[in-house]
Symmetry: C2
């Protein structure tokens, strides 16, 4: 394969972004995964613990570990879900909200830098290609 394939480009680009986010997160004794979890929790209503895995596309064992870590660092708290007697809502603490906002700023900074560097038309085509890939996969049109 002399020419770079689409999957190769996706993989290397995502890995580079992940590494960059992890290095940035490490400055604050965090990881990309913990930051991503904070971003996935609704800052006002909280998020049912069972909804978080599917939302993040993450296995529940990995997620449990992250939630335990976030709870120990007092960034989240678990409260009973008023709408589901046996359910648990994950809420952000004051500190969690602060850290979530920090993470959000990092994400925006990355996105704004890329957008200003390459322009919106190519970004939109990038989105189109991703959407096409997702559609082809969801409709089982590849294999």
């Amino acid at each position: 394969m002399k020419e770079k394939t689409i999957d190769y480009v996706l993989r290397t680009t995502w890995f580079a972004v992940q590494k960059m986010y992890n290095e940035e997160a490490a400055k604050f004794e965090a990881t990309m995964s913990t930051a991503f979890t904070l971003l996935s929790i609704d800052p006002k209503q909280g998020t049912p613990s069972t909804a978080l895995g599917p939302k993040m596309g993450m296995e529940s064992t990995s997620l449990s570990r992250i939630l335990k870590n976030l709870e120990e660092r007092a960034l989240i708290k678990r409260i009973p879900n008023p709408e589901d007697g046996r359910g648990v809502l994950i809420h952000l603490t004051e500190l969690g909200l602060e850290k979530r906002e920090d993470s959000r700023q990092r994400v925006f900074r990355f996105n704004d830098k890329v957008k200003s560097e390459i322009g919106i038309e190519k970004i939109n085509h990038f989105y189109d290609v991703s959407e096409t890939i997702l559609n082809l996969i969801n409709e089982n049109k590849i294999f």
Copy 2:
């Protein structure tokens, strides 16, 4: 974040591709990682074991596990590197070459499908965006 961010799109698209490849590989009792490893080994000259991890962007512990699996399934063999007395070359066996070719066909099928669906101009812009991201990261221009 109402609008989808670039990192989010990259992540979800890569995860979907990875899941698709793993499902396809499972039909042949393989995984995406083993297929990707076969594709990363030079079919003629073989590849030094120490070069494989960096080439694939993979931790050596994960890679060791995969190589052990491939060796047990008689898809690769380790031979002393004639150009490096202490080094080891990973070579594909006949069966390994066959499986590598199967994997290559799957990768091409995916790439051809996406290309024919969306057209080369947008694909090229997709590549441009990825390259811009990699450059910004490599030059430490984000954080």
